[in-house]
Amino acid sequence: MTDLFVDSYPKQARVVRSAFLTAYIALGIGALFGVLQALHRTDILRLVESPTYYTILTGHGVFLVITFTIFFLVGLYQWAVTDSLGRGPVDMRLTWAWYGLMSSGTLLAAIAILAGFLDDPPTVLGSELSADVLFTFYAPLQANPIFYVGLVLFVVGTWLAGADWFRTWWSWKQENPDARIPLPTFMVLTTMIMWYISSIGVAVSILAFILPWSLGLTGSLNPTLTRTLFWYFGHPVVYFWLLPAYLLWYTVLPKLSGGRLFSDPLARVVFILFILLSTPVGIHHQYLDPGISDGFKFIVMTNTMFLLLPSFLTAFTVVASMEHGARQRGGDGYFNWLQALPWRDPAFTGMSLAGVVFAFGGFTGIVNAGMNINYLVHNSLWVPGHIHTQVGTAVALTFMAGSYWLVPQLTGNRLVGRDVALVQVVLWFVGIVFMTNSMYRGGLIGIPRRSAEPQYDFDYEIAVGSIPEIRAQLAIGGVLLFVSAMLFLVLILLTAFNDDSEPIVDGTIPPALSGPEDSPRVLDDLRVWIAIALVLVAIAYAFPLANIVSRGGLFGPDIGPFPVVVETVASVLSTTDTGMYLEALVETES
C-alpha cells in the first residue's frame, strides 16, 4: 500500500478538501431547496408564497449545477493532476487565488439570490438586490448586477484553475520530454480546453451585454443573441459537469472492480471527441426559438447525434473494465461475473448505479435531440426529468460515491458508516427513479417545468394513472433524494472528524490493459484538436450569430430602453410581492 494522498501532498490535499467542502455546503442547501420545490409544486406542502418558489428554484439551480458540480470538479482535478503527474502546482499562490476567486464569485451570486427571501431587499448598484432569474438568466429578465459579477468572478476562477493545471503539466513535461501525458492529466487538460472554448460564450454574453445593461450603461439588448450565447456555453457546461464523472469511471471504477481500465487509447479518443463536438451543438436547446433558421437547427441536430458516440464508447469501455475486474476476482459465466463485483463497497456501487441511470437518461436525451419530437417535450417536466437523471444522478451520485473513496485519502481518516453509505447510494438510485419517472410521464402530458403551481383551469389529458398519483410519486422521490443527500453529508462530516483512525483504502490507480503506447502520439498533440474544434465552432455558429445580429442588432432590434427594473412597476401591481417582483418591463413612454 502506498502513502495516502494527504501524506504525500499535504498542501494540495488542503486545496482539494477546501474545494470539496464548498461543494458539499452547496449540495446541502441545493438539496433542501430541491425538496421544498418537490413538495410545493405538487401542492403537498407550501412553506413559501409562490413567487418565492422562483428564488428557491434559482438557488437550487445555481448552487447545484454551478457551485456543487464545479467545485467538486476543481477539487477532483487538482487531485488527479497532482496524483498522476506526481507533483504539485508550480506556485501554490495561483492555486489559492483561483480558489479564492471562485469562492468570492459564488458568495456574491449567493447573496444576490438569497436576498430574494427578504421582504424589503436593499438597493445595491442602482437596483434591488435579488436574482430570481433562474440559472439560465434569460434577458430581458434582469437580476441585480452583483449576481452577474459573481458569475464572472467564478468563471474567471475556473479559467485560472485551468491555467494552473496547464502550467503544472508544462513544467512536468520539461522534466519528462518523451513521456505520454498520464491519462488523468490528459482528461483534465482536454476538459479545460473544452471549457475555455465554450465559456467564452457566457463571458461575452455577460460582459458585453447583460452586465452593462443591468448597470444601466446600455439601454437595450438583443434577447435572442444573449440567449444564443448562453446556450453556446449551456450545452458544453453539461459536459463540464459530466467529464469529472467520466474521469472517475475511467480511472477509479475499474480499479474498484478489481481490475484495470480496458483501453487507454479509447479513453483519450472519447475526451477528444468531447473537445470537438460539445460546443457546436448548443442551438439544439433552441429548436423552438423564432429568429433562427431551420437549416441551422438541422446542422446542430446531426452534430448532437454524433455526440452520442463518445458516450457509447464509454459505456463499452467501462463495462468491459468492470467485467475484467470481476473475472480477476474469480467471476465467470456470461452474466455470473456480476456477482463477483464488490457490491458492498459504496464507492463502487454508487458509481455503477450512476452509470446505469446515465444509460437510461441517454435515451431521453436522444428524444430531446430529435428536433421534431422535441416540440412535444420542450420545457415540459420531461426536461428536468432528463436533467435529474444525468446531472442529478450520473454526475451527483458518482461524485458522492467518489467522495467515499477520496475523502479518506484526503483526510487520513477512515470512512464512517460504510454500510450506511451503501444504503445512501441505493436510496439515491431508488429516489431518482421514482422522481424522474413521474417527471417523464408528467412532461408527456404537458405539465410545464419551472412552475410553482402547475395546477391550471384546464385538465391534463392523462393516459396512464392520474395526476395525484404522478404528484405523489414525484414528492416521494424528492423526499428520498433529500434524505439520501443528508445521509451523505452526515457521513462525510463524521469522517472528517474521525481523527483517531487509519483509512482502509488503496489510492493507486493501476495502468490500463491496453496502454497509451497502443495509440498514436497525435492524440496528445492538443493544439491539433483545439484547431479543429475552433473550425467546427466557427462553422456551426458564425452564420447563426451573424443572422441574429443582422436581424435584431447587437443591442436589440431598435427597441428603445428595453428593460426597466422592477421597483418602478412594483408599486402599481399591488398583488405582487414587491420584493419578488423582478420582472423587467417595457417602458412605454420612450
Binding site: W343, L353, F434, G465
Partner: protein, 63 residues
C-alpha cells in the same frame, strides 16, 4: 443465506425500480396497473427475494 446483505439490498432496489418503470412500459401495451396493484407486485417481489435469500430450501448445503 444465499447471498450477501449488500447484494440483497441492491436486488431489492432494482426490483423497486423495475416495478416503477414496468407500470409505464405496460401502459404502452394497454395493460394498466393501478397504484395498489403496483405496490402489490412490489411486495410480492420483495417477499420472493427474501424467501429466495433466506429459505433453507435453497441454501447451499456445502456452506
Amino acid at each position: 443465506m444465499r447471498t450477501s446483505p449488500a447484494k440483497l439490498l441492491i436486488l431489492i432496489a432494482i426490483l423497486l425500480v423495475i416495478v416503477v418503470e414496468l407500470r409505464t412500459v405496460l401502459a404502452f401495451f394497454d395493460v394498466e396497473l393501478t397504484v395498489l396493484q403496483g405496490i402489490a407486485v412490489g411486495i410480492v417481489g420483495i417477499a420472493l427475494l427474501l424467501v429466495w435469500a433466506f429459505s433453507p430450501l435453497f441454501s447451499e448445503s456445502d456452506q
